[in-house]
Symmetry: C2
Subunit: 133 residues, 2 copies
């Protein structure tokens, strides 16, 4: 199953080990740039949060247990190191320019230059009382 | 970027259009079966919720705007139809047998037989007050 990058995310982190363990724990700003062929997918974008699905292209895909704890499988964690390094980070949207394919985000935890494979409207609450999704 | 299936999810829904728009809106039960080479990734699994990352293999990858609303890009939604049909569903865990690679889940919204590409510990609260992730 082939994933094509739809864009790239730029962050202050050279590697994921420099990033906060989850983006919301920090307040790092970053930018998603969507490639021209996919920009139409942002039509009508007006969300204040977005789920960024990105590919941890420098992650070790051979690991099945955590480096720091061999008794915990990678599927019990959100570590980028896993057979398919598809990562999901929910960020706050600081500004959006859909026509330019550009989202400025707060709460990023990606390595700089990581390929973006998807953007989604977040499920805005885990209390299951929201009707917008 | 190549995704290998790590397993398969079995649900009551032949297509995603039969499924609730988000799994948590329904109470359908399903089963994830992790393939033998990846079962070690479930070592120590004891979560009561899990994020299932799955591949909507029957989705239309050519769509950039919603079928039901051409003024909304796919990146403003969670529709399975999108350039990379990577979907993320957070489910409740009814029972888990890590050695057998089997998770019985509540709140599924996948089409039956969809490939699973990843399993993750959910971020358990969007109030950002949880310290477990």
């Amino acid at each position: 199953m082939n994933c094509e990058p739809i864009g790239t995310v730029y962050t202050p982190f050279e590697t994921t080990s420099e990033a906060p363990r989850q983006g919301f724990r920090g307040d790092a700003e970053g930018v998603v740039e969507v490639d021209p062929p996919y920009r139409e997918g942002l039509v009508g974008f007006d969300g204040d949060r977005v789920e960024v699905v990105w590919w941890a292209d420098r992650a070790d895909r051979s690991l099945l247990t955590l480096d720091r704890d061999a008794d915990r499988g990678v599927f019990t964690s959100r570590s980028p190191a896993r057979p398919n390094p598809v990562c999901v980070t929910e960020c706050a949207v600081l500004s959006a320019d859909p026509a330019a394919g550009r989202l400025r985000l707060d709460g990023v935890d990606m390595a700089d230059g990581s390929p973006v494979v998807d953007l989604k409207a977040p499920i805005t609450t885990h209390c299951w009382d929201d009707d917008s999704t």
